[in-house]
């Protein structure tokens, strides 16, 4: 019961904040709304019993990535975005029925019935050792190669971000139409 209450609270907060991310015109408000949505999603992870992922969501997303967005928003002048229209109205009006169609399709799929049988291979182990230990043991045995590949991708992304973001000698203002 208390789990249902927490789940409904967090999901309501997440959906309202996601609406704010889509609707609000000011980019600073959009960042705050995204932060609220990420914290609510971390709460949903805690409700689902995934403590490690929830903590990492709070640490990496809600702290690091959001602060990074704020930094970039100070580099790009967001006041200019307020003078213009912040949304594509015509494209939004055209693609909104497709969004409703996607939701309707999910409703149809659920009414047809989707089921997944709980195998529960890890459940006893998870009760015995706790969630984080189980994740660590599986991550470093079954998915060890993938873990190394992710570290390689992080390294390549870091090098790429440094190379892309370095200061160029000249700008190309003159030949833009």
């Amino acid at each position: 019961m208390i789990q249902w209450l927490a789940f409904l609270l967090f999901s309501l907060l997440a959906v309202i904040s996601a609406l704010g991310v889509v609707i609000l015109p000011n980019p600073v408000y959009v960042i705050l709304s995204l932060l609220s949505s990420l914290i609510a999603i971390a709460g949903i992870f805690f409700v689902a019993g995934a403590e490690l992922v929830g903590a990492i969501q709070l640490l990496i997303y809600a702290v690091a990535v959001t602060v990074f967005y704020v930094f970039v928003l100070t580099a790009v002048p967001w006041e200019k975005a307020l003078k213009k229209d912040s949304h594509y109205r015509v494209e939004g009006a055209l693609s909104f029925p497709l969004l409703l169609l996607m939701y309707f399709e999910i409703l149809v799929v659920f009414s047809l019935g989707v089921s997944a049988s709980p195998k529960g291979q890890i459940r006893e182990l998870s009760k015995k050792f706790g969630n984080t230990e189980v994740i660590g043991s599986i991550l470093f045995s079954k998915y060890f190669l993938v873990f190394e590949l992710v570290s390689l991708v992080l390294l390549i992304g870091m090098i790429g971000a440094v190379i892309i973001g370095r200061k160029e000698a000249q700008t190309y203002d003159s030949d833009t139409p």
Binding site: V15, V21, A48, V76, W78, K80, L99, L154, Y172
Partner: protein, 102 residues
Amino acid sequence: MTVIPLKAYIILSVIIFGLGLFGMIVRRNLVTVLMSMELALNAVNIALIGADAHLGLADGQIFALFIIALAAVEAAVGLGIIVAIFRLRRVESTDEIMDMRG
């Protein structure tokens, strides 16, 4: 752990994913387009974690960890590209990027 059914997680995931997709389409500013993309990635994470809690496995949480790491890389590279575009062209809106020369 299995009080909340799988359907609740997946419905929430689909709602937030749709909102993120819609935001990617209708937003004009480049930074807000990337923020809508983060929202869609988080919706996928909700589906993975919910399936994990339902099935009693731990693989979905590991996939969610990988998605979080790759989303951090994507934010770094994407925001670097946005800052580079702004520095070179003085534009920060998706309809002002006229050409890819340079």
